[in-house]
């Protein structure tokens, strides 16, 4: 808005900067202050509810309220001729639900020319294009009073008839921007007898536009339904000064003052005669029910009282009429200029924003409840914290990926975005791997060879019944060296057991013991190799495995398939783990009851065994644990041997067994007896022999 223009309506004594601050603190945000010749232009950033501030008069009302100054309204006296407008024009509203009021004036014998400098300056200062004196006047009045007007060339309105109706099927209209618009029922148009001549409340038609040849003018000032204007403008992807105001709610009672103001100005600038009377069709009276503003409500909600005199003064200054003042509060009549205010709470907001939010001193509310976190949230945080201790850095990637990429890592049906920004972001991720690989590549291209990354986030898919599903997944990626070459150590490439160890440590940190973990689909872990279908194709078939644990879900770990890696131009092995976190035991419920710390010493014994190469370590440990000896505390392998000293098809494996009793010190001969039982059991079940 122009400061000079504002000053026509209200006296402003403060500096533009002060004014901007004060307006901003009362909810009318001034974003920019730009000097322009002798004027200052304030750039407002209005919230969508404040249609009333889309004009100089409206902003002036705010200013007048702020500084308790009188507001000078626009007074117009129209000099009319004897000819009665009503008799020369037929106006009919056929869709009163979409157009509550339609006012028109006729001006005859005007001379269209370009506007005088003062008018051009005003419009150009606000960034509006100047066209001719008539069109410019309608824009001027729009900027001044906030009501959109339209001027038609009366000669182009066939049979001097205006119908305000919905568009018929198959109709179209070339609007003044030269674009042909296909209309459909539901769109409100201004039509003459034969065709639409304007898109109501949005843009006029090119044919009936004011031209240099125009002599007689039909001036329109109407009130259109906000939702209808918005729908039509949206579906035609149009946005104009007029539609902007109508869709936010114009003032139905501004129609007449605006049309009078415009008619007078046109006559002043273009001459001509204004026919007598405003043709005013107002089939659907917009009336507003008064509301009660309770004093107690204000205090209860805001936490402190607002002086009565302030409430009354502010409401009046903002055009709200106080009908009645009682013990309870005020009965307030709502002006048609403020359709956004319709409830008590809206009035409270009007008052408090003028009173000043800074006048309410801060307090903290009391609280009798507690503060809860869901088990899933506790778990996720624990996972993240423990992963960084294991050296993994957290990544966060977009939910959107390329459709073709989604198929590589999941058989699930992806959720497609109907209005995606690009084809690379057209579906929602069904796996976290594409994002992790992108992060891996990003860093590799910047010279990093070794890294450990993870992401914990949602994947999205449609289930068999097409329902959209979201599921939390934890995915890890590791590649390069497990240990870098330093002065202290040689480098060592990351291998499967680094990955497995990380997972064992991680799961232990959230309460899953190593013993609960199960690798492969069977207990012995070997069964899995016989079902090649159970590992997805993007994994290396020989270096990948499923794993699970009691209460947890089937997860995957292993090396990415080298073929897939080469598609991404990755030459080094990439290890990944995928753990869905759909179901998880409540961490706080994990059995953490104190167990007595053993007071008697433990005894460790080693055995070196020779077994068939097909026998796994897991076979050996589970066989040992089958022994009826409760004193076995733990079993751990410490050596593997394959080679010339053993017969073909055999391998050597050495394990330590730890024996301990909780009620006594174990005797040497007791342990010897246990150990013999174990050896016999291994020989019986697995054909294991002692290596000498």
């Amino acid at each position: 808005v122009s400061l000079q223009w504002l000053k026509e309506f209200v006296d402003i004594e403060v500096s533009p900067e002060q004014l901007a601050d004060d307006l901003t603190n009362a909810g009318t945000v001034v974003e920019t202050i730009e000097p322009l010749k002798s004027d200052v232009i304030l750039g407002l950033d209005l919230t969508t509810n404040r249609a009333d501030c889309l004009s100089h008069l409206g902003v002036a009302r705010e200013v007048a309220t702020l500084y308790q100054k009188p507001l000078r309204k626009v007074e117009t006296t129209v000099e009319e001729t004897d000819g009665v407008a009503q008799n020369q024009m037929e106006i009919r509203i056929e869709a009163p639900q979409l157009c509550a009021r339609y006012c028109a004036r006729l001006i005859k014998g005007a001379r269209i020319a370009s506007s005088p400098e003062w008018l051009k300056n005003r419009l150009e200062a606000l960034g509006l294009r100047t066209i001719n004196n008539v069109a410019d006047v309608t824009n001027y009045v729009l900027m001044e009073m906030g009501h959109p007007l339209h001027a038609f060339d009366l000669a182009k309105v066939e049979e001097a008839t205006v119908l305000v109706r919905e568009a018929l099927g198959q109709e179209s209209l070339v609007t003044i921007d030269g674009v042909e618009r296909r209309l459909s029922p539901g769109m409100l148009v201004i039509a003459d007898r034969t065709r639409p001549i304007a898109l109501a409340g949005i843009m006029g038609g090119a044919e009936s536009e004011i031209s240099m040849a125009t002599r007689d003018i039909l001036l329109e000032s109407a009130w259109f339904d906000p939702v209808s204007i918005r729908k039509t403008a949206k579906s035609l992807t149009m946005h104009t000064e007029a539609s902007h105001r109508f869709e936010r709610g114009a003032d139905v009672n501004m129609t007449v003052p605006s049309i009078n103001r415009a008619a007078t100005l046109i006559q002043e600038l273009a001459g001509g005669e204004i026919l007598q009377g405003v043709i005013d069709c107002y089939p659907r009276i917009i009336s507003r029910r008064p509301i009660l503003l309770r004093r107690s409500r204000v205090t209860r909600l805001m936490g402190s009282e607002i002086p009565e005199a302030f409430v009354e003064r502010t409401l009046s200054a903002l055009d709200f009429k106080i009908l009645e003042h009682s013990e309870v509060g005020w009965r307030v009549e709502l002006p048609t200029s403020r359709l956004d205010v319709e409830r008590e709470i809206d009035l409270i907001e009007e008052i408090t924003r003028h009173y000043g939010y800074d006048k309410f001193s801060p307090t903290l509310p009391g609280w009798e409840g507690s503060s809860q976190r869901r088990p899933q949230q506790v778990l996720q945080r624990a996972f993240k914290q423990n992963l960084i201790h294991l050296g993994y850095s957290e990544t966060i990637t977009s939910s959107f990926i390329d459709g073709s990429e989604s198929q590589k890592f999941s058989e699930r049906q992806p959720i497609r975005i109907l209005n995606a920004l690009s084809s690379e972001t057209e579906v929602m991720r069904t796996s976290l791997l594409p994002g992790l690989l992108r992060s891996f590549l990003w860093n590799q291209h910047r010279g990093l060879g070794s890294m450990k990354l993870f992401e914990l986030g949602n994947v999205y898919f449609r289930d068999s019944s097409q329902q959209c599903c979201e599921e939390v997944s934890l995915t890890l990626l590791a590649s390069g060296n497990a240990q870098a070459k330093t002065v202290h150590n040689d480098s060592r490439a990351f291998n499967f057991f680094d990955l497995k160890g990380d997972i064992e440590s991680l799961l232990q940190s959230v309460g899953v013991s190593h013993a609960q973990l199960c690798f492969g689909s069977g207990v012995d872990g070997s069964e899995n190799a016989k079902e090649p279908g159970s590992i997805p194709a993007y994994y290396h078939p020989g270096l990948s495995i499923r794993f699970s644990w009691e209460g947890g879900e089937r997860s995957l770990m292993g090396q990415l398939h080298p073929g897939l890696c080469s598609e991404y131009k990755i030459k080094q092995p990439v290890w990944v783990v995928e753990i869905p976190l759909r179901v998880w035991p409540d961490l706080r419920m994990v059995d953490r009851v104190f167990k007595e710390v053993p007071r008697f010493p433990s005894i460790q014994r080693d055995i070196s065994l020779v077994v068939e190469t097909g026998v796994t370590y897991s076979n050996i440990e589970s066989t040992i644990r089958q022994a009826p000896i409760k004193e076995i505390q733990w079993v751990s392998p410490f050596d593997l041997y394959k080679g010339e000293h053993l017969p073909a098809g055999k391998k050597g494996i050495s394990v330590t067994i730890c024996y301990q009793a909780f009620d006594r010190t174990l005797l040497e001969e007791e342990v010897n007896r246990y150990h013999e039982i174990v050896i016999a059991l291994l020989a019986e079940k697995l054909g294991a022999q002692l290596r000498t």
Binding site: Y357, S393, I415, V487
Partner: protein
């Protein structure tokens, strides 16, 4: 004989002082105490031939001398042993300036760190953490938040759709509605999560970003409580010196509404490029819950009142760490992540 004793005695301390190795100490011991040729041993033998009158006195002197020599040897032996240990240990000395045997730690994403910090501040005020689906219905994302269809305010939140009836939530406010449907007041929750707006990516926009919204509903919650809670939070998250400004604004969900600014952390409110010379940075939108929203979840607005707020985690992280481009958060460049 007495002369000999005195002579040995007087030279003793200087002589032992020159013994600087265990080998020399053996020689020293042999010199005086060797069973065959030791000077003191010989004197002891000589004592037999001394006249009985002098023998007692001389014998005492000689014994005293022997004890002195023995204790000098013992003392010197300890000194030499300790010296030898010192030397051996000194030889172990290493180059302390070499780097440690480091175990590289991973890094929590700055967005997670900020989220945890905010969650913990609100947890200390009694707030619980709630979550909800990212794929939402227009009802929960808009209607129940008092943003009816065809409301101009919807323009500011350009939305991704996955079907006619499902969209990607544009804020985490739907969680507030879902929680209120499930639970009666009193209620204090924060709702962190991923949200979507159909903006082309640039330095300050990302179609995918993260929010934390909060809601408190109880009997007698006031606008002053709303201000106090947010001031407490902002001062804890930024600094004690942070000044907080509440400006009237408009959101469908709240009324009265406010945009909340903090004094610019880059220039301490003096005015700089980041705050566009205003001295203030906008950090969140908030307000008292609109009675219309309570109507959607069957809370009686005459009985209960409350406040709600929403903030962008990326924005908070950018302000806190002076990050100038939102895209850094999604590139996952380790040179970026390792700074946090």
């Amino acid at each position: 004989m007495l002369d000999e004793i005195l002579q040995i005695q007087s030279g003793l301390s200087s002589e032992i002082g020159e013994v600087d190795s265990l080998a020399k100490l053996t020689i020293f011991r042999d010199k005086y105490l060797s069973r065959k040729r030791g000077l003191i041993t010989l004197l002891m033998k000589e004592l037999q031939s001394v006249p009985a009158g002098q023998r007692k006195e001389l014998g005492q002197s000689l014994n005293l001398l022997k004890a002195k020599v023995e204790s000098a040897i013992e003392k010197r032996e300890k000194e030499l042993a300790s010296l030898a240990l010192d030397q051996r240990l000194e030889a172990d000395r290493i180059d302390f300036t070499l780097p440690g045997n480091r175990r590289p730690l991973g890094h929590l994403h700055p967005l997670t760190q900020v989220r945890i910090e905010i969650e913990d501040i609100f947890a200390s005020l009694g707030y619980s953490v709630e979550d909800g689906p990212e794929i939402e219905t227009p009802y929960y994302n808009f209607e129940a938040l008092n943003l009816p269809e065809h409301h101009p305010a919807r323009d500011t939140q350009d939305t991704f759709y996955v079907s006619d009836s499902l969209l990607l939530r544009t804020h985490t406010s739907p969680i507030q509605i879902r929680t209120m449907e499930r639970q009666r007041p009193p209620l204090r929750i924060i709702c962190p999560g991923r949200v979507y707006r159909r903006d082309n990516p640039d330095a300050t926009h990302s179609p995918v970003f993260h929010q934390i919204e909060g809601l408190a509903v109880d009997v007698g919650i006031t606008f002053r409580d709303f201000k106090g809670t947010l001031e407490y939070f902002l001062k804890r998250f930024f600094t004690e010196q942070t000044r907080v400004r509440f400006r009237p604004s408009y959101f469908g969900f709240t009324e009265p509404s406010a945009e909340v600014d903090i004094s610019c952390v880059f220039c301490a409110g003096k005015g700089c490029r980041v705050c566009k010379m205003s001295g203030w940075i906008e950090v969140l939108g908030a307000g008292m819950v609109d009675p219309a929203v309570f109507a959607f979840v069957n809370y009686d607005p005459e009985e209960f009142s409350g406040f709600a707020f929403g903030l962008g985690i990326e924005r908070f992280a950018m302000i806190k760490y002076s990050i100038n481009n939102i895209q850094y958060f999604f590139e996952n460049d380790l040179r970026f992540l390792e700074q946090f």
